[in-house]
């Protein structure tokens, strides 16, 4: 029973974790650039440091979400996607989550790296 409870939590973290983490990284990364380059002064930020920290934290949490999704998938690998719930439902979500998490991880990395390599900091293209 306890194992089943964990599988449910893993399924939800695997499905939603990377998505939420990417959303947070986007809002914070964007907000940091507005704060850094806006007229309100740059708040004494080292933008690159913050962006790298943000990217690493987000990427780690996204990788953990992928691990969770893969775990659920392997636990339910004998099932079909339309098999009875809850196990069939977990298998279904884990299948989709495995692909989705890769996407989020890529966006997280591209965002962080893209910001850090831009020079000068507040330059326009």
């Amino acid at each position: 029973m306890r194992r089943l409870g964990n599988l449910e939590l893993l399924q939800w973290y695997g499905l939603l974790g990377a998505a939420i983490v990417w959303a947070a990284q986007l809002v914070l990364a964007y907000g940091l650039t507005v704060a850094r380059c806006g007229e309100g002064g740059n708040f004494g930020l080292s933008l690159d440091t913050w962006q790298v920290v943000l990217m690493v934290v987000a990427a780690t949490l996204a990788l953990l979400a992928e691990a969770a999704a893969v775990t659920v998938f392997l636990e339910t690998r004998s099932l079909e996607h339309d098999d009875p719930p809850p196990a069939g439902r977990r298998h279904f979500f884990a299948t989709g989550a495995i692909v989705g998490n890769v996407l989020f991880l890529m966006i997280i990395l591209l965002t962080g790296i893209g910001i850090v390599v831009q020079s000068p900091v507040c330059g326009q293209s």
């Binding site: 507005v34 806006g38 007229e39 309100g40």
Partner: protein, 195 residues
Amino acid sequence: MSADAARIDRSRAAKPNGWWGMAVFVATEATLFGTLVGTYFYLEFTNPQWPPPGIPDPKVLAPLLLTAALVATSVPVQVAYSAARRDRVRLAQLALVVALVVQAVYLALQLHLFLDDLDTFSPNASAYASIYFTLVGAHHFHVVVGMLLEAWLVVRLVTGLTRYRLVGLQATAFYWHFVNVLAVVVLLTQISPAL
């Protein structure tokens, strides 16, 4: 009838439709307030001075105390729902009335502060004032709506409890917990320059 409503509520495994409807509504209103708060900080980051010259720093103590009082009304509102779930209709009505009284005093005092602020700095003069009054005003509006919901339930409960009214009570309690969380967020935003 009342006992039936309470019994059905307890035997349900999932949340009722009305609760889910309120959850989705809360999601959209939370996003709206997220936009308002985001606008506040966006304008702050794009303005050299915040508040702009000539406008005093926001008051801290009075809004803080008032917000604390408002947040505390989550207790009687939740009590109202719990009581109704156990078919204690009169207790539910009493709890709602207690909440209403505190919220009415809160609102009257907040409106006084609001009008006072309007006399000091006008939204016609700066973006700071424009977003300040829009954000704070929007929250007061949500408090008024919440009070109307409570008042309606107090009246409807006079003729007893039905499934419909019990779900309404559950949804209203949810609404109030949301408004109270919002109150803290709006407060922190509004006083942030003074922190």
